[in-house]
């Protein structure tokens, strides 16, 4: 686990350092919001980026967000390489649960919401199809730092320990880039079952992420 994280960190540093040697590299500080999109069979559902609902606690719902940095390097008139890394929170509704008493009498359902805190990185090759607009794809990774679920009814939270730590992602990105500002919409598809252990042999849980990222040029 530590070796995997160290390797990923080292690769990220080397990747960014390779860009640093280029005079044409443009660096951006990024802020982002995101939506976690569960796979169809997971029982989870998407949590709003920002919402309000009297029926749930908390009534004010604040979803996913992140902070990071990105770099663009032009390879030719039409091609450019983008690398970015971010620390993010992803939020989602967990599957609701039946409550029962000791005699198996149903007591209703209870819901929980979950948060994943991750370090994510992507490297994408972009094609400029119009002035300031480009689209690209490549490879990414999500490193799960911690994940927990909150059950408001019991005012309790639990760690989720049945998820893989490192998840390879397939990103697709649409970017607007000006001299001082970028805006990207990125879809990241998890390439593996996110469950681990014996459970992964019996159940598959896929997910994807939709990220809206604004970048401000720092160099």
């Amino acid at each position: 686990m530590k070796i995997k994280l160290s390797l990923l960190f080292l690769l990220s540093v080397l990747f960014f350092n390779s860009f640093a040697q280029s005079k044409t590299a443009e660096y951006f500080f990024t802020i982002s919001t995101n939506v976690y999109l569960p796979g169809g069979s997971s029982g989870k559902s998407s949590y709003p980026i920002l919402g309000y609902n009297d029926d749930y606690k908390p009534s004010f719902q604040i979803g996913g967000f992140g902070l990071g940095a990105g770099v663009f390097i032009p390879l030719s008139d039409k091609l450019l390489l983008k690398a970015q890394g971010n620390f993010s929170r992803y939020a989602y509704w967990d599957q609701s649960h039946f409550l029962t008493d000791v005699n198996a009498v149903p007591l209703g359902t209870v819901y929980s919401h979950s948060y994943d805190y991750t370090f994510g990185t992507t490297g994408t090759l972009h094609y400029s199809f119009a002035e300031k607009f480009s689209m690209g794809t490549g490879l990414g990774f999500q490193v799960l730092l911690t994940s927990f679920s909150i059950i408001p009814k019991f005012d309790m939270s639990f760690s989720n320990k049945d998820y893989k730590t490192v998840m390879p992602m397939l990103p697709f990105e649409l970017t607007y880039k000006s001299e001082k500002f970028t805006f990207s919409t990125r879809y990241e598809l998890a390439l593996l079952n996110r469950l681990k252990g014996d459970l992964a042999d019996y159940k598959t849980e896929k997910y994807s992420l939709l990220v809206f990222e604004a970048g401000f040029r720092i160099k």
Binding site: T33, V35, L37, G43, K44, S45, S46, Y47, P48, I49, L50, G51, Y52, N53, D55, Y56, Q61, G63, W93, D94, Q95, S96, H97, F98, L99, T100, D101, V102, N103, A104, V105, T109, V110, Y111, S112, H113, S149, I151, F154, M156, F158, S159, N160, K161, D162, L195, K196, G197, D198, L199, A200, Y202, K203, L210, F212
Partner: protein
């Protein structure tokens, strides 16, 4: 005027759902009590006498209980004393159907 009812849906950006999914109701698998503190029972109702497999997974995805049966119905007890808090996945495979539930250990 319920101002938030008009404003906040506009802010609900691509979330898709404003609330959690409701669980499916079935009578084949029942866990009680849920949540549980010391132990929990899992009742399987197999009125068709089909072979079935019942599995219980710990919070790190490891198998805690695995049984292959063809009884009409059966009840299994899971001892939770000393086990960490969290979600324990319970899975029943019967015929072509798979039922999953989560047992909450407090």
């Amino acid at each position: 005027m319920n101002f938030h009812k008009y404003i906040f849906p506009l802010l609900l950006l691509l979330g898709g759902c404003s609330g959690p999914n409701d669980p499916e109701i079935d009578s084949q698998l029942r866990i009680y009590p849920n949540p549980a503190l010391h132990e929990a029972s899992i009742r399987v109702n197999n009125s068709n006498h089909e072979p079935y497999q019942i599995l219980v997974f710990g919070i790190e995805g490891q198998i805690l209980l695995e049984k292959n049966e063809s009884l009409e119905s059966a009840t299994y007890t899971i001892i939770l004393d000393g086990k960490p808090e969290g979600y324990y996945h319970v899975m029943l495979k019967i015929g072509n159907q798979t039922y999953t539930r989560e047992l909450i250990k407090l």
